[in-house]
């Protein structure tokens, strides 16, 4: 496990150092930045795992802070990196953002947290809600000193007893992100739906919840026929509060939720999808100028509408004097991203939109191969899930017998949504009419 954990600023200077094992001199951290730079590529992404002189550096980067764990053992790298992830989650929960400044401001509490979250380099408890119960920013007198919450060592380590709300409510958000990779010919190379059920729980006491979905496997195993469509989820992962063995045996999702916001489960469907928003593009590159024609099409039901659509089209980073013309929406050149962004506030299903763009280019350019980043698209479509997943019921049982209201929302959004650009047409005269 970890010998020590460091938080570094972008220059590699330690902000926080917590040595757990004493088997690696603290000066070893000075080698981290040089090592990272050595193995870094242009985009500034160094390997997350590096070893030098028997010391292994595992790291994550969170805004302008590096979180680094050092070890001398053949440690489980996955576990340690996950711990660093959790560390950043806890810090975010405590300080809103992880920045050099918030770290400096809170070093005492960070030391306390590090002491509690990891003992001798072995991760212990990383549940922010529980930690906040006994490690707080408020100062305590010893007489009213907090005791370790029961939850720390309980089977239910994520919820404390005695929570009370006047109005008991649960909000469920079913969010589906569409990951899509499309080649220039319009063929979908890979696509999947990454679904998540997020909850906001405002419930008193220790409620038992049971969630029913239109899960195909469950319908099949219980011999019931589904009313309407059932969804076959390829892989499901649950928050630790869900009883996994129960799910394994009869596919029921039962759990005692943590208080407040959390992600109950994620699921994945590996289906061949038609791109919900499909962009066809023609690029013409000539001496001194480059022209684009983009046709966007909303390929979903007419009843639905995509909101806040952004189509981000990359252009050469030395392009200038943009000219745009579009049938709907607004277009802006974003030179800092080497792209122009086409925003469509509302894009109704079945509709098409056209955009023409013209850029000037310096007449002398180097011949190095151009980067050809893909077009990326952002959107969200409310009241709609691509997979057709539905929450059939959410049963809430608490021994006090209160009534609680579950609220459910559905939304489909873009995930990693990339449409590769075709090669620019360079010869044969212009085919695109001038704007």
């Amino acid at each position: 496990m970890a010998s020590s954990v460091f938080l570094l600023d972008l220059k590699g200077k330690p902000l926080i150092a917590r040595d757990y094992r004493g088997d690696i001199p603290l000066t070893a951290i000075d080698r981290f930045m040089p090592l990272l730079q050595e193995r870094e590529d242009e985009e500034g992404t160094g390997l997350p795992v590096m070893t030098e002189n028997g010391v292994t550096y595992l790291h994550l980067r969170e805004k302008d802070v590096y979180m680094v764990a050092l070890t001398r053992k053949n440690t489980n790298a996955m576990t340690l990196l996950q711990f660093l992830h959790h560390l950043s989650k806890v810090f975010t929960e405590y300080f809103k953002t992880i920045e050099e400044e918030s770290i400096r401001d809170n070093f005492v509490i960070i030391y306390e947290l590090l002491d509690e979250m990891m003992d001798y380099g072995v991760p212990q408890i990383t549940e922010p809600k529980i930690l906040q119960e006994y490690i707080t920013q408020e100062s305590h007198m010893l007489e009213i000193t907090p005791r370790p919450p029961m939850a720390v060592t309980n089977a239910v380590s994520w919820r404390s007893e005695g929570i009370s709300y006047r109005k008991n409510e649960v909000f469920l958000d079913v969010v589906e992100s569409i990951n899509m990779l499309v080649n220039p010919k319009g063929n979908v190379l890979s696509s999947d739906i990454q679904g998540a059920i997020k909850m906001k729980v405002y419930l008193s006491g220790m409620p038992e919840l049971r969630l029913g979905l239109n899960d195909k496997v469950m319908f099949e195993s219980t011999g019931r026929s589904a009313k309407g469509k059932a969804v076959e989820m390829e892989d499901i992962r649950f928050h630790q509060c869900v009883r996994l063995s129960k799910f394994e045996s009869d596919r029921t999702i039962s759990f005692i939720p943590p208080d407040g916001e959390f992600e109950l489960m994620t699921y994945r469907l590996n289906t061949q999808l038609k791109p919900l928003i499909w962009c066809e593009s023609v690029v013409e590159s000539h001496r001194g100028r480059v022209e684009y024609m983009i046709k966007a099409k909303a390929q979903f039901k007419h009843r639905s509408t995509a909101n806040n659509v952004e189509i981000i089209v990359p252009v050469p980073n030395d392009s200038d004097s943009p000219k745009f013309k579009s049938t709907i929406g607004s277009v802006k050149y974003a030179p800092e991203r080497s792209a122009f962004v086409w925003k469509i506030k509302q894009f109704q299903g079945g509709k098409e939109a056209l955009l023409r763009a013209h850029f000037g280019l310096p007449s002398i350019r180097d011949d190095d191969p151009e980067r050809r980043p893909p077009i990326s698209v952002k959107f969200d479509i409310p009241y709609f899930t691509t997979s057709g997943i539905q929450v059939r019921y959410l049963k809430i049982v608490e021994k006090s017998g209160y009534q609680a209201l579950p609220w459910v929302r559905y939304i489909t959004k873009n995930g990693d949504y990339q449409l590769r650009m075709p090669d620019p047409i360079t010869s044969g005269g212009s085919r695109l009419p001038p704007i």
Binding site: R21, G22, N74, E112, Q137, L142
Partner: protein
């Protein structure tokens, strides 16, 4: 509000200059009114802030320790932090704090008790440790679980400080008791502590029985995510005693794959993969593997760091369980913004998942990647295209086209990379893509990287006779010869010699120049040696030079990056750890790391599931249980372990030139010196064979590096190279002892030798040897029964020179035949299909791949030969090497063997038969050949940068070695040269719901006509009740026995030989050799048609004398004479060609040499009495032959000539 104020206050002060120590001291000791310690708290914060910034605050220890009494938790925590920081180094600080600690461990608040215990554990100072022991004992039994779980970790800390103390004080027992604690987080911490203590301690070995395991698994449900990880990790210490144990664990852990924490998921995968080694039935494994795939794909949706670790581990899992992640290829396509390390790791996985079916999609994707701008990524994408061409024959054309397109882009590094992989493609598919050489040559000027230059030079040299201006092209490289790196110089040297041999006039100016430079101006001993060898070769026997230099190359394979099985097995026990990421055993980068092995148990099966056949080669028995007993396994494992450790150091150094190479370069020098002194024939003879023994192991070693070059992961491959040698030693001994023909063994006296060897090994070694012997025994045992062609040739090659081979075997003793050695281990291993090979031998040897070695990847295909027709030479030749390979690493005996080589006619004690062997092995008439080959080999062996060329030379050597043996042995080995067409697909699995049949026709000794088939069941259901029927055909071919296929279980295959006779109902078919066949089985009835090569109908009595030939030739004077031109004969001597034809019942009546060519006159007779008389004009360079035939059955002439072409070109 107070907190906020304070924070603001603090921020201001923080930005102020660093506080002086004395100011802080004043603040800490201030007498001002401070009832709640708030002032001191601010002061303490400043102290900690200073400490964080690396300023030494230790002088304040007295004041700080005084603050321990302040009743404020935050202050206390800061004091503890101060102590952890400084007390370790300064005992006086620690000693002073002891009293404070003693108070705190008795505090009523569990939080403070736990904190005190936790902090004391961090301070390795005698006094503190002493005062920790008693409270710790109490805390381990504290009523509060929070204290107990903290105390468990304190025991771990204590054990790192003083291991014996923990044992003396019975803390370990207390920890064990905690395993039964009612609180899951206490159990988890106790498990974590115990696991780590046992990992570090040399004499504590953690072993959990199923009872404890079940309890722990039950606790899983209640632990937090970290606790689950510790418990899951501990399950790796459970050794299932029977298969149901393993299945129970797997079943109970399966739900964890759904956990939200990637750490939990991956550890679960590790435990399940471990337990799968103890499952007895493949039927159980399949659903498990299916369930493992989705969670692994889901892990790819996480951050890049998690993706990276996942991908590295997927690559390992894929090697062990090739069916995992089937149809998930697209999940591994690279996203534009993936970090480069993720992209590179994805590429590897993509390559592993590429099959015939999806090759097209993959290729399109790779071409896309090749257009990106990251140089590393682009290079690897280009390289991957080449690897796919080599791995999947059907995709080769498309890959080559893609590479050509890439070359047209003129992007410098793309072109260079493409040329390097095209060389490999040329190696794999000779004579198929020469048409693109022109395009390649357009880019000569841009090549500035040594590897690309060497590759280009190799291509030009190899095809010197096809490129019109090859001499001029090579000459352009000449100018820089002396400045080029060794790699390029070596390539140049060989290319120029090739040019000279193929086009003497074109090369005659260059050769002396280059040879002179190589031998006089170059410092590298490798180049010098090779220069000398070529020189002597060219000056003494140009014909032999041709045989050596232009001999066939061993086939290369795309599997070079595969890890060998023991390493893979070890790494799979380390899933998720650094070791799995680096693909190195922990002991190579962590001092004193304990080695993990699969625990021995009755239940250990190491089952695997056949991969979806990548190429048309399902001739492997898909599932093989390890037949040897558990005890033997363990012992074998010990042996293997020793191997790994012996090669481990090298690994760490990352130096590809192992000690062996160095050693050999010395002996190489000896040779050349001796040689220049004028070698007498017998002397050469002895040395030659001796040297051959002395170097092949290293050749193998280098070949592994060679492959490694494709694979990229150098350390693993080097490691395996060493391993090859070591494993092999068992193989050899095994053969000595049991497998060879007893008479032969007795004759040469192998028995005493093996005894010597035996005595040197401990009992464990012996057991391993015994078990190793069995596969060989099986090999030879099968020679009597119908068997596939290669196999038969293999055994018959034994026959014809069994004395010689046995002799050399016994003499080389510690000498280590690598592929055979692996063969022996492969016995309990699942054979992998090896592309291009077709025999059951292939199946067996291919099986070595998982256990075996990157080295095999290159040597093995050579063993197998490209096609069945390649049969004799390429089979026998590597075999002969096999019997001669000593290694200079790994075994003490190897050295002696090597020495025996160096000293030639002396007979070292350990190898009494060395001299004899040499004599037997290489008949005197061909001494030069062997000598040169061997010495060539040596120089190859010394090289570190040789790589490809070494392969070439190795084959050259093999082939020339073969020629000798074949020449003398042709009389006795009737079957050895019989041509058998490569098996081809008769029934495609896609048309038949999973049944794939491959087959070919052969004529075996005594005129037995056979159909040799392989039935592969690629469905998930067993298929049985096979029956076969032939439709009426031209010659009435019909099965004369039953089809001996029983039931073929799912994902398995069976090989059968179906004897045929000619008495069946006849009906003229079009084409004449067409056969319509029906196969009935439980999967249905399938019809297909195929054609056989006419040669299976050539009668053994077709020989006629010259008079008869002339008479018939004249008699048929007016008969139409068919004429056919055959390109690129695969012979290197006329004698060889004659023998080959004779063996296939095309009898040479006469032969005469004319300028630049030789004319053969042959006769053959078909079983129906049709007679064929041919004149075959062969160019002396074997580039082309013209066959003119007259026949009593003129309509058969085209088929007849086709058959001859096949025979002549197919090896």
């Amino acid at each position: 509000m107070q907190g906020l104020e304070e924070r603001q206050n603090y921020m201001l002060t923080f930005l102020a200059p660093i506080w002086k120590v004395h100011d802080l001291r004043a603040e800490l000791t201030s007498e001002k009114k401070d009832p709640r310690g708030q002032r001191k708290k601010v002061a303490m914060k400043k102290v900690v802030a200073n400490m964080t910034m690396g300023n030494d605050m230790s002088q304040l220890y007295q004041e700080v320790i005084a603050c321990m009494s302040i009743p404020d938790l935050e202050v206390k925590k800061m004091v503890y932090l101060f102590l952890i920081n400084y007390a370790r180094a300064r005992a006086e600080i620690a000693n002073m704090a002891v009293n404070g600690f003693e108070d705190d461990v008795n505090d009523p608040n569990p939080l403070i008790r736990a904190m005190a215990i936790r902090t004391m554990g961090y301070i390795y100072v005698d006094r503190v440790i002493e005062s920790l022991i008693d409270p710790l004992r109490h805390c381990l039994r504290d009523r509060d679980p929070y204290v107990r779980k903290t105390a468990a970790m304190a025991v771990l800390k204590l054990s790192m400080f003083d291991r014996s103390l923990v044992e003396e004080e019975k803390f370990l027992d207390m920890l064990k008791d905690l395993l039964a604690d009612g609180n899951p987080s206490v159990v988890a911490n106790a498990v974590a502590a115990l696991t780590e203590i046992s990992e570090r301690s040399p004499h504590i070995k953690l072993k959990l029985n199923m009872k404890i395991a079940n309890k722990l698994i039950t606790a899983l449900n209640e632990c937090n995510e970290w606790g689950q990880i510790y418990i899951l990790e501990s399950l790796m210490y459970v050794v299932p005693q029977d298969t149901s144990d393993a299945e129970t664990v797997i079943e109970r852990i399966m739900p964890r794959l759904q956990h939200g924490n990637s750490g939990v998921v991956l550890v679960s995968v590790k435990v399940i993969a471990y337990m799968m080694n103890y499952v007895a039935q493949t039927e159980t494994l399949e659903p498990i593997l299916r369930k493992l795939s989705p969670p692994l794909v889901t892990l790819l949706a996480s951050g890049p760091e998690v993706q990276y670790i996942t991908l590295r581990n997927i690559q390992l899992l894929l090697q062990r369980w090739p069916t995992i992640l089937q149809n998930q290829l697209r999940a591994f396509f690279c996203k534009y913004d993936d970090p480069i390390y993720v992209k590179l790791a994805k590429l590897e996985v993509i390559l592993s998942l590429t099959t015939e079916e999806n090759a097209r999609v993959v290729l399109t994707e790779l071409v896309e990647y090749a257009a990106e701008i990251d140089v590393d990524f682009v290079r690897k994408a280009v390289r991957s295209i080449g690897r796919i061409a080599i791995k999947i024959e059907l995709a080769a054309d498309r890959c080559v086209r893609a590479l050509l397109d890439l070359i047209q882009t003129k992007v410098n590094y793309v072109v260079q990379e493409a040329i390097v992989v095209i060389r490999d493609i040329f190696r794999k598919y000779p004579n198929r893509y020469e048409s693109i050489i022109g395009t390649l040559c357009e880019n000569l000027d841009t090549l500035d990287e040594p590897e690309a230059r060497a590759a280009m030079i190799w291509i030009i040299g190899q095809y010197a006779d096809r490129i019109d201006n090859s001499d001029r092209v090579l000459a352009t490289f000449l100018d820089t010869f002396l400045d080029d790196p060794a790699e390029v110089q070596l390539a140049m040297l060989t290319a120029v010699v090739k040019l000279f041999i193929m086009r003497p006039t074109a090369g005659q100016d260059m050769v002396p120049k280059v040879l002179k430079w190589a031998t006089e101006h170059v410092d590298s001993p490798d180049i010098r040696d090779r220069g000398f060898i070529y020189w002597r070769l060219l000056s003494t026997d140009p014909e032999m030079a041709r045989a050596v230099v232009l001999a066939d190359k061993p086939e290369i394979s795309a599997e070079g990056e595969r890890l060998d099985m023991p390493l893979l097995e070890e790494l799979l026990l380390q899933v998720g750890t650094l070791s799995s990421i680096y693909r190195k055993p922990p002991c190579t980068f962590i001092p004193f790391a304990k080695k993990r092995v699969l625990g021995a148990s009755e239940a250990l099966t190491r089952l695997t599931i056949a991969p979806p056949p990548v190429s048309r080669l399902p001739r492997s028995t898909s599932v093989m249980n390890r037949p040897s007993s558990a005890k033997q396994q363990q012992q074998q494992q010990q042996q293997l372990q020793r191997t790994t450790s012996s090669t481990g150091d090298r690994d760490g150094l990352g130096d590809p030139s192992g000690s062996s190479s160095v050693q050999l370069s010395a002996s190489a020098l000896d040779v050349t010196n001796g040689g220049s002194g004028g070698m007498s024939n017998p002397y050469i003879n002895d040395t030659a064979a001796g040297f051959m023994q002395g170097n092949d192991a290293v050749l193998i070693d280098l070949m592994s590096m060679d492959d490694d070059e494709y694979g990229g992961d150098s350390s693993a491959a080097i490691n395996s190279g060493g391993m090859a040698g070591f494993n092999a030693s068992f193989g050899l001994t095994g053969m000595n002892m049991a497998s060879l023909d007893p008479a032969a063994r007795g004759a040469v006296g192998a028995a005493p030798d093996s005894q010597v060897l035996n005595s040197a090994f401990d009992a464990a070694g012996l057991d391993a040897l015994a078990s190793v012997a069995s596969p060989m025994a099986r090999l030879s045992g099968r020679s009597g029964s119908p068997m596939p062609d290669l196999m038969r040739q293999f055994t018959s090659s034994f026959d014809l020179s069994s004395g010689a081979i046995t002799g050399s075997t016994s003499s080389s003793m510690g000498a280590i035949p690598s592929p055979m050695g692996n063969l022996s281990f492969s016995q309990h291993q699942q054979p992998q299909p090896v592309s291009g090979s077709t025999s059951s031998l292939a199946g067996m040897a291919g099986g070595a791949a998982p256990y075996g070695v990157a080295a095999n990847a290159s040597s093995m295909p050579a063993l197998l030969g490209t096609t069945a027709a390649a049969g004799f030479p390429s089979v026998l030749s590597p075999t002969s090497t096999v019997f001669n390979i000593p290694t200079s690493t790994g075994s003490p005996f190897a050295n002696s063997a090597a020495i025996s080589g160096v000293q030639g006619n002396q007979q070292p004690l350990s190898a009494p038969a060395a001299g004899n062997t040499a004599l037997l092995f290489s008949p005197p008439s061909n001494n030069n050949n062997t000598t040169t080959a061997a010495t060539t080999g040596i120089s190859g062996g010394t090289a570190t940068a040789f790589q490809k060329e070494v392969d070439d030379l190795a084959t050259q050597m093999y082939n020339s070695g073969f020629l000798n043996t074949a020449g003398t042995g042709s009389g006795s080995g009737t079957d050895t040269g019989a041509y058998v067409a490569p098996q081809h697909v008769l029934l495609d699995a896609q048309q038949t719901q999973g049944l794939e049949i491959l087959g070919t026709f052969a004529r075996r000794s005594g005129g037995k006509i056979q159909m040799e088939m392989s039935f592969a069941n690629k469905s998930t259901m067993p298929i049985g009740d096979f029956a076969i029927q032939f439709n009426k055909n031209t010659y009435g071919l019909t099965p004369s026995g039953s089809l001996g296929v029983g039931t073929v279980a799912a994902m398995r295959s069976v090989e059968v030989t179906l004897p045929l006779t000619l008495g069946g109902p006849a009906q003229v078919m079009q084409p004449l050799t067409n056969l319509q066949i029906a196969i009935k089985c439980t999967a249905g009835v399938f019809y297909f048609q195929t054609q056989y090569s006419l040669h299976i109908l050539f009668d053994e009595t077709g020989n006629s004398d010259q008079g008869e030939f002339l008479r018939m030739w004249k008699a048929m004077g007016d008969a139409p004479t068919g004429s056919r031109t055959v390109q690129r004969l695969r012979f290197s001597s006329m004698e060889e060609m004659r023998n080959k034809l004779n063996m296939n019942n095309v009898f040479t009546v006469a032969q005469r040499a004319v300028a630049g060519a030789t004319h053969f006159y042959t006769s053959s007779k078909l079983v129906d009495g049709s007679q064929f008389y041919s004149e075959i004009k062969v160019a002396n360079n074997f580039q082309a032959a013209i066959i003119a035939t007259k026949s009593t059955a003129a309509h058969l002439v085209p088929l007849y000539q086709k058959a001859i072409e096949d025979i002549c070109t197919a090896f």
